[in-house]
Structure formats: structure tokens, C-alpha cells
């Protein structure tokens, strides 16, 4: 239905493939990435946000454990934005392939899976299809307490009741980086031109963001993706969540701990919530 498979072949010029690497050795669960995202992307908030099934967030924090009893317990935080899955063939992301109205799409120029709220009519197929619980549904109209709507960022449109939303890799920042490069007569954007809000805020430098197609970018050097295996990391301490599903995520994780790497390729069970 959607022209998912043609693209690879027609790709002519070198495009970007933005990706993220989160270092779980450094992440301490402080939550700055979550709040930086909320503030940048006009995420709505309600008095009770403790039902995590309905709480809207683009960056979700899980906490996993080795399940050993005290005092052999070990724990690790796992921040999860949208994985921006490329799918087996370029563009066949689980969520994109089920959307009836192309409200979500895989952008072959950036590797970013977009979400267009004004197109979404709320069928929530994508939420069912996404194996990472990366998507949230607007069950209610967003309400800002009196005066607080002043804090809204004009670069990101406010979502309304009845639509799905998710992490966009701060796509509006890509757009303004592109505009800036264009104005300055540069053909391509630089690594520092485009960084996501969570990456910038993270106090420990646990998040690295950049272009996986650019061998100069730090992320590419740290991940060392194998093009023949859909970007599977060659660095043995780097992994992707649920690699076996073949969703081909653009978000990578690093951990020096084997148990963390093992848990992450299986499943996060609900006891391991953050």
C-alpha cells in the first residue's frame, strides 16, 4: 500500500541516517532527558501522571535489574525514546507499515520516523505494532494551567485529543539546522548543528547523537555499524533492543555489563519498570 520498498534502489545522493547511542554505564537515571524532551516538545501534563499506560512521554525510563537477592542485586536505567526503526528493508518500520493514512513515515533522507499529528486519526494501529512502547495516545485534550501556555515552544505544534505522538528526534531542530546550513552556503549540516534536546541536557554525556552514515561522527565511530547486517553494531559492548526482531533500530545502547546486554535483547518485563 505504501511505497516502502522502492526507495532503497532509487536512493541517489548520500543521505543522513541520524541515530542515537545511549551509554548505560554512564546513565544514572536523573531524568533530565525526559524533562528536556517535555519542555522542548510541548508535551502536555496532567495532575496525575502515575498511570504510565496513559501518561504521555517521548522518552520513557525503564529500570532493569539482574533479579538477584540483596546484596547481589544490580540495576541499570534504560532511557527509551522512539527507536526510529528502519525495518528490514529501508522504510519498513513496524509502525509505518500499518498506518492507514501515512501519518507516520520513514524519511529516507534522515532515517527519522515522523509523526504528523494533524494527519493521525487515532486508530492506534501503530501503538499496537510498535514493539518498544514508544508511542503515546492523547486520551484527553491538553490543558495548560492559566498562564503556563506561555512556555510553549512555537517550533513544535501542540497535539490534540485523539492523536498519537512520539519522539521525533527533535525533527524541528534538524529543519532549522538545515536552514542554517543553507543560509551559510554549506551543503551539509555539521554534527554540532543538530543535536536533540535530551542529548544536550544529559549531565553525564550518556547520549551521543549523530549521523550513522558519516564516519567522522562520534556515534559512527563508537557503534561501528555493519552495513551488510542492517547496521548491527560491530562494537561488542554496543547493542540494540530486540535485535532479533529485525526492526533495525537507529537507537543503540552501550553497556560493559553482560547481564544488561542479555536482558535487553530479550524483553523488558513489567517488573523491570523504572
Amino acid at each position: 500500500m505504501i511505497s516502502g520498498t522502492k526507495a532503497m534502489k532509487t536512493k541517489t545522493k548520500q543521505t543522513y541516517h541520524f541515530g542515537m547511542l545511549i551509554d548505560l554505564d554512564r546513565c544514572n537515571g536523573c531524568g533530565s532527558c525526559m524533562v528536556a524532551c517535555m519542555s522542548e516538545n510541548n508535551i502536555s501534563f496532567r495532575p496525575d501522571e502515575t498511570d504510565k499506560q496513559t501518561s504521555i512521554t517521548w522518552m520513557r525510563m525503564y529500570r532493569i535489574s539482574n533479579r538477584k537477592p540483596f546484596p547481589d542485586t544490580e540495576r541499570c536505567f534504560l532511557p527509551m525514546p522512539c527507536m526510529h526503526c528502519e525495518g528490514k528493508e529501508s522504510g519498513h518500520s513496524p509502525c509505518v507499515s500499518v498506518c492507514p493514512v501515512t501519518a507516520t513515515d520513514y524519511d529516507r533522507n534522515t532515517g527519522i520516523v515522523s509523526q504528523i499529528p494533524s494527519r493521525c486519526f487515532g486508530c492506534r494501529y501503530c501503538m499496537v505494532a510498535c514493539p518498544y512502547h514508544a508511542r503515546s495516545f492523547n486520551w484527553w485534550d491538553p490543558v495548560w494551567p492559566k498562564g503556563m501556555e506561555q512556555m510553549l515552544n512555537p517550533d513544535v505544534s501542540v497535539r490534540m485529543r485523539g492523536v498519537v505522538e512520539k519522539c521525533s528526534f527533535c525533527y524541528h531542530r534538524y529543519q532549522s539546522a538545515r536552514d542554517k546550513a543553507h543560509l551559510q552556503g554549506r551543503p551539509r549540516i555539521e554534527e554540532s548543528d543538530y543535536q536533540t534536546s535530551c542529548t544536550e541536557a544529559c549531565p553525564t554525556g550518556a547520549i551521543t547523537f549523530g549521523d550513522l552514515n558519516n564516519p567522522q561522527h562520534r556515534i559512527t565511530q563508537m557503534v561501528n555499524p555493519d552495513r551488510n547486517l542492517s547496521g548491527k553494531p560491530r562494537n561488542p559492548q554496543v547493542f540494540r533492543l530486540l535485535e532479533k526482531l529485525g526492526t533495525n533500530p537507529s537507537v543503540y545502547y552501550h553497556s560493559s555489563k553482560q547481564w544488561v546486554r542479555e536482558v535487553s535483547d530479550n524483553h523488558i518485563d513489567d517488573k523491570g519498570r523504572s
Binding site: C30, A36, V101, S118, N153, P203, R273
Partner: protein, 708 residues
């Protein structure tokens, strides 16, 4: 419908087109706000929401503040920022701001003019003076640092009252202890970045310790340069989870472990040579601290840590090139037990790292507020101030103890600036009752927090994003600095600098001739105080403070007997009645201070901390089984002080027979996003005053869990 029909429906674009149209139609709700575009501008300042003093960069669209980021080129945080710092726009625009002066009439607040508010305060002050009771004026302040604090203290002195009571920070306690111990007052500056073996005695390194972002960055640096962090703590905290090694220790026995390691190290040749290199006065004291420390076997019994492990810790520590031991801090950098502080200081000394790279640096506080002394004839009425009723290093807990003991409050007017004692002091219910006894409580709060609600008069300050504020940052830094926060937003409401409110009150009391207060406005006072550094501060936001050398001599003697017993931080409560111990947990996603937690931060809080309005506590599965409780059960958590309804969460990282509860929840103020959500941990605690510093050091309390 047959196969053909459904295939047809799938293939024809019509239903999808219709759905698309419907969705566009339904989504044109006029009440979904469309943020106005405008001119983007960037404004640097510093964050004063915690003692960290990070650099921040505010992003504005025309006049609107839409984002607060970490300042990229700031030496402390280099672009990093915490969830509270990121909440700037919410803290600025929240409807929970006090928007004009307020007066309580028949139990309800009514807005009044600034003129009316200040003359109300002035007339009450005049009454106190007529009654010859100047010491009936008291002031609780968030800290003893900065010009606002200095103005408040000066005002009290001029009025004739000694009762200025700033919340002591651990730095104040360090100065007191080191002054007694070594003859020269200093604060430890920890050279985190260059240390290679770090022993952390329960420090919340990643949950807010020292200057929080600087500390987190250092922890992250250790991962890169191979330095090893050993976390000694009773529970698997977030710091323990990221440490290279976590050693579980019985609650409240960190000092014993530190002393046992000290003793072991002191017996090595290396330890001996380090000790002999220390100045004589300090050396003598040091030996007196170490000597009564436990042997390895005794320590094993007290701390629950294997004697062999302690021996190994000692070997690794003294054997490493750049060892560094870190001392815990209480919530918002409040003091901890002096026994623990001295034990950690002694451990650094025997490891030979004092003033060394990667070690503990002795930092002297440099006064930069050099106003002329108040003269006796500037003091109004009945004489020179006497002794502070809250003790020599004044403690708000001691203050409220006095208030509680007297049938009539000895204080007639209480000024409260930049703190929220009705929420965050131990036994907060008692504090609320104490406040209720004081005839006039005047709050300078910019937010409707618990103490503002308990006040009679509110003279609201500007928010931290609308004002200038001088902000010295020590916080364990080896290079302390003075920061200046600058307004990054226009003033939104009918608020005034606390400094201006004080100056105006002084003028009305003593006329323009009030020689102690020669400034017309607070900004003028600030500029004059910072004199030739003003331009630098205004431009860059911070300057380094000078580091005068430390000379130690004439050490007085501390009475060590007072802290030779462990367990002093736990308040009373019989073991058989209260078999469990409560441990508190801090988190960067919750804030304990007078500003409260933002809605965004509340959204980031896990459902294993707060569920609906229920506060969730961590219990070890074994303990829960013993109590016949399981995940999600409701229970009564009872301490000798108070009780609360809590929800049980089973957690392997929690020590058996302990209950872990989060700090920063359970407010009775701040509007619907915070009010009534979870349990206030301070309600359950009881104050325990340290024998040397007089500060509250309670962090645990005995408790029991009962089924509901």
C-alpha cells in the same frame, strides 16, 4: 461482507480519505493552544535552585520564556542540567506563584498593596519595640550566604535581635568542626576529577551531592579514565547501581567503617608517614579521633561488612595513587553527624591526600560582603543583641524546640525567607503547630508553599528568573566561585525583591537616617557590594573566589567522648515495637526545597515511587513475606512521631528490615500537581541534634508496618 468487499474497502482510498477529513475536522479544537512565533533570543544566567550554581541559558520567544538549558561553556555544568533546572519555564509561569502581597484576614488570604503590607509589618515591629522586646523578632533564612541573608541579619541586629537563624549547610558545620579541630576553619573541596580510588560513604553522588551536575560529570569521567568508585551504602541507590562496587552496610554505621579503615591504614608504613607529615595540632587531634575507632573484628560486628573486605578496602585505598574519601550530605546539603564528618576527614588525612591533586583541599570561605559594622548607637532602643535562642550555630530545629517548650511563643514576629520549615523539617507536623503559636509570621516566598500558607503576611519575592542574586558556590568545589543570577524574564507579577522590602521597612522604622542601610534600592546595594566585580559578574555570570592559604595552629580540643557511640542519628523508639528502620531516598526527579517539584518532574517520577496519590515504599521481599505483605498492598507505616498510609513495592536492592521512602512528596501546598500526592518523609522523622554542631542529623527512624 465477503472477501471481495473487504478487499475492495482496503483498496479504495475513499474510507481513508473520509477518515482523514474527519480527523482534520475533529482536531480543529479552538482550545488547543497555538504557540505564537516571534523573535528568538538567548540569555545566560545561573541557576540558584540548589547550592550547585550551574550556568543556565534561557531561550525566549519575544518576551516569553520557553526553555532553560544548561549553559554550554560553563565550567561547572558544561551544558548539562538537572530536571529541576530544566523546569524553569514551569516554575516561572506556574499559577502557584504569589502574585501580589497577601494578608490573612479571618483565615483567608486577600491581596493587599505593598504600602499596606509594609506598614502592617512596621506597626507590628513598633509594638515589639515599645514592649522592649526586640529579641521577639526572629528570622529563618534558607542560607546564611549572600546579600539578602546579610540584609536580613543586619536588620535584626539593628532592631536589637540576635535571632537570625539561617538553615545551616554542611559547609557551616565543617567550618565549626575544622576550626575546633585544627585551629583554622575550612571546608573540604574534593578534587573529584583527578582522584583514582573513591570511597563514598553513602553519598548521593548521582542524586544530588555537592554541585550536582559537576559531581555527575565527575562520575561519568571516572568511567572514562578508569577511576574506581566504591559506594558504601545501606541500599542499592542509583549511585550504588552505577558504582564499580557496592558494599552494603548496616544503616548509620558509615562512620564506624571509616574509622576502622583509618585504624588499619594508620598501622601501615605509608599511613604512618602520612600522619607524621601533618601539622602537630591537627595530628594530635587526628590520633584522638582514630584511636577509639573499632578494630576490624568489632567493625564487622557493627557494620555488617566482612573484616576481610574492610582490610581489602584499606589496602586498596592506601595503596592507590590518588585516594579520596567522600562524606555524605543531608538533604539540600544540610549537615550530617559530626562523627561521620570527622571520620571521613581523618581517613583522607591518613591517606595523605590533603591539599594534593585528587585529594581533599582545604578551602577557606572568603567574605565578599564588606559593609561597615553596625555601631551600637545604630541599634534601636533597648540594647545590643544577646544570644541566639537557636544556639551558637543556630538551628531551625532548636528554634522550634524552644517555641514548642514555652507556653507562649517567645517570638512575636517571625520572618521567613527562602525556606519551607513547615514541610522539610523533621517532625513537620510539630513545626506547623509551632508556627501557629507565633502571632505574626511574615513570608517572603514567591510560591504558595506550606510555610507561606501558614503565614499571616506575604511579601512575595521575584522568582529566581526575574532577579539579580549573588550566589557564592562552595559545594565541595576545589575552585569556589561567586555567581550572579541575572533576570532572564521580565517581571510578571506585583512582586518585589526581599532586599527592597527590608530596605523599605528599615526606612519606615528609622527614617532615611537609618545609617545601617544607606542604599536606596536593593540593586544599588548589590552593585555597591560587588563594586569592581559587578561588570565581570554581570557579563560572565561568575568569578573565581580567591583561595587564601590555610594555616593551622592553636587547635582547641573537641570532646570526642560525645561521639564515641554509634547510632546517635536514629531517634528513639524501642526495637521490639518498631522493628524496622526507615531510610530516605533522594532523587533528581523530586525536589525537597521551598520551590517544590514541577509538573514535568512529577511526570517523570516512576510508578514505583508514586501511584495515584499513594506514596510507595520499598521493602525487601523477605521482609514483606515476614509481614505477610506483597507488591501493591497498602500498609500503615508507623514511627514514634507519626504514621502514614503507604503502598508496598518489593525491591531486592533494599536491605531486609528497612523501609525506603522518597523525599520530596506529600505536600500540603503547591496546587493540584503536588498537593496530597505521596507521603512527606520528614513528617515521620524526629529531630536529633548533633552534640558538636547542634544541627539536626536525623536520617533514620525506627518504624513498623501494619496491614490496613
Amino acid at each position: 461482507m465477503g472477501l471481495g468487499a473487504s478487499a475492495g474497502l482496503t483498496l479504495t482510498p475513499l474510507p481513508w480519505k473520509l477518515l482523514d477529513d474527519i480527523s482534520i475536522w475533529t482536531q480543529n479544537w479552538p482550545w488547543v493552544p497555538v504557540p505564537k512565533a516571534g523573535v528568538v533570543s538567548i540569555h545566560d544566567s545561573i541557576c540558584t535552585l540548589c547550592p550547585g550554581g550551574c550556568g543556565i541559558t534561557a531561550r525566549r520567544i519575544d518576551e516569553r520564556l520557553v526553555f532553560v538549558a544548561g549553559q554550554e561553556n560553563h565550567p561547572l555544568n558544561a551544558g548539562g542540567i538537572c530536571p529541576l533546572g530544566l523546569s524553569g519555564p514551569q516554575l516561572l509561569y506556574t499559577p502557584n506563584r504569589v502574585m501580589s502581597p497577601m494578608m490573612k484576614v479571618d483565615g483567608a488570604f486577600q491581596p493587599i498593596s505593598w504600602n499596606a503590607a509594609i506598614s502592617t509589618l512596621v506597626s507590628h515591629l513598633k509594638e515589639l519595640k515599645q514592649q522592649q522586646l526586640p529579641q521577639g523578632l526572629a528570622c529563618l533564612a534558607g542560607s546564611g550566604q549572600g546579600t539578602v541573608s546579610a540584609l536580613l541579619q543586619r536588620f535584626l541586629t539593628a532592631f536589637g535581635s540576635p535571632n537570625f537563624i539561617p538553615s545551616a549547610s554542611i559547609d557551616d558545620a565543617w567550618e565549626l568542626l575544622t576550626g575546633q579541630l585544627t585551629g583554622s576553619r575550612f571546608i573540604p573541596g574534593y578534587d573529584l576529577e583527578r582522584a583514582d580510588t573513591i570511597l563514598s560513604f553513602g553519598c548521593d553522588l548521582t542524586e544530588g551531592w555537592g554541585s550536582p551536575i559537576r559531581t555527575m560529570r565527575a562520575c561519568s569521567g571516572w568511567k572514562e579514565n578508569g577511576a574506581k568508585l566504591v559506594q558504601i551504602q545501606s541500599r542499592l541507590s542509583d549511585t550504588a547501581a552505577t558504582a564499580d562496587r557496592w558494599i552494603a552496610i548496616n544503616p548509620g554505621t558509615e562512620a564506624d567503617l571509616a574509622l576502622a579503615i583509618c585504624r588499619t591504614v594508620a598501622e601501615t608504613a605509608r599511613g604512618q608517614s602520612h600522619i607524621s607529615a601533618i601539622d602537630s595540632g591537627f595530628r594530635h587531634q587526628l590520633q584522638a579521633i582514630i584511636k577509639p575507632g573499632p578494630s576490624l573484628e568489632q567493625a564487622e560486628g557493627i557494620t555488617g561488612v566482612d573484616a576481610q573486605v574492610i582490610q581489602q578496602l584499606a589496602d586498596d585505598f592506601v595503596g592507590s595513587k590518588r585516594p579520596l574519601a567522600l562524606c555524605r550530605e543531608g538533604a539540600d546539603r544540610s549537615p550530617v553527624a559530626s562523627r561521620e564528618m570527622l571520620a571521613v576527614l581523618a581517613l583522607n588525612a591518613v591517606a595523605g591526600n590533603i591539599d594534593r591533586p585528587g585529594g581533599l583541599h582545604r578551602i577557606k570561605r572568603v567574605p565578599y560582603i564588606n559593609w561597615p559594622e553596625i555601631r551600637r548607637d545604630d541599634v534601636a532602643g533597648s540594647g545590643w543583641p544577646g544570644e541566639n535562642l537557636a544556639g551558637p550555630l543556630p538551628s531551625p530545629d532548636a528554634f522550634f524546640k524552644t517555641i514548642a517548650e514555652e507556653p507562649d511563643s517567645p517570638v512575636g514576629i517571625l520572618l521567613v525567607s527562602d525556606c519551607n520549615p513547615c514541610y522539610d523539617l523533621a517532625a513537620s507536623d510539630r513545626i506547623k503547630r509551632g508556627i501557629g503559636k507565633i502571632p505574626l509570621v511574615v513570608s517572603f516566598s514567591e510560591y504558595w508553599n506550606e510555610t507561606a500558607l501558614a503565614a499571616n503576611l506575604i511579601l512575595p519575592n521575584h522568582s529566581y528568573l526575574e532577579r539579580y542574586q549573588d550566589f557564592p558556590v562552595y559545594a565541595g568545589l576545589t575552585e569556589p566561585r561567586l555567581g550572579l543570577s541575572r533576570p532572564v524574564s521580565k517581571q510578571l507579577f506585583d512582586t518585589r525583591y526581599t532586599g527592597d522590602a527590608i530596605l523599605e521597612t528599615a526606612r519606615q522604622l528609622w527614617g532615611t537616617a537609618g545609617r545601617a542601610f544607606p542604599w536606596k534600592t536593593y540593586e544599588e546595594c548589590l552593585k555597591e557590594t560587588l563594586s569592581d566585580q559587578w561588570d565581570d559578574l554581570k557579563g560572565r555570570g561568575w568569578i573565581n573566589l580567591p583561595r587564601p592559604p590555610i594555616t593551622s595552629d592553636n587547635a582547641a580540643t573537641i570532646s570526642y567522648s560525645v561521639f564515641s557511640n554509634a547510632d546517635i542519628e536514629t531517634s528513639a523508639g524501642e526495637v521490639h515495637k518498631y522493628p524496622l528502620m526507615i531510610l530516605t531516598r533522594s532523587s533528581m526527579r523530586l525536589n525537597n526545597s521551598a520551590v517544590g517539584t514541577s509538573p514535568f518532574m512529577m511526570k517523570s517520577v516512576s510508578d514505583t515511587v508514586l501511584k495515584g496519590k499513594k506514596g510507595v515504599v520499598d521493602v525487601n521481599p523477605q521482609t514483606a513475606e515476614k509481614l505477610n505483605m506483597t507488591e501493591g498492598d497498602m500498609a500503615r507505616l508507623i514511627t514514634p512521631e507519626a504514621e502514614a498510609a503507604v503502598m508496598i513495592h518489593l525491591d531486592d536492592g533494599t536491605m531486609p528490615d528497612t523501609v525506603v521512602i522518597s523525599q520530596g512528596l506529600g505536600h500540603a501546598a503547591f496546587g493540584e500537581y503536588l498537593d496530597g500526592r505521596g507521603v512527606n518523609a520528614s513528617r515521620l522523622l524526629q529531630p536529633v541534634l548533633d552534640p558538636l554542631t547542634g544541627q539536626n542529623i536525623s536520617r533514620t527512624v525506627r518504624a513498623r508496618l501494619m496491614p490496613v
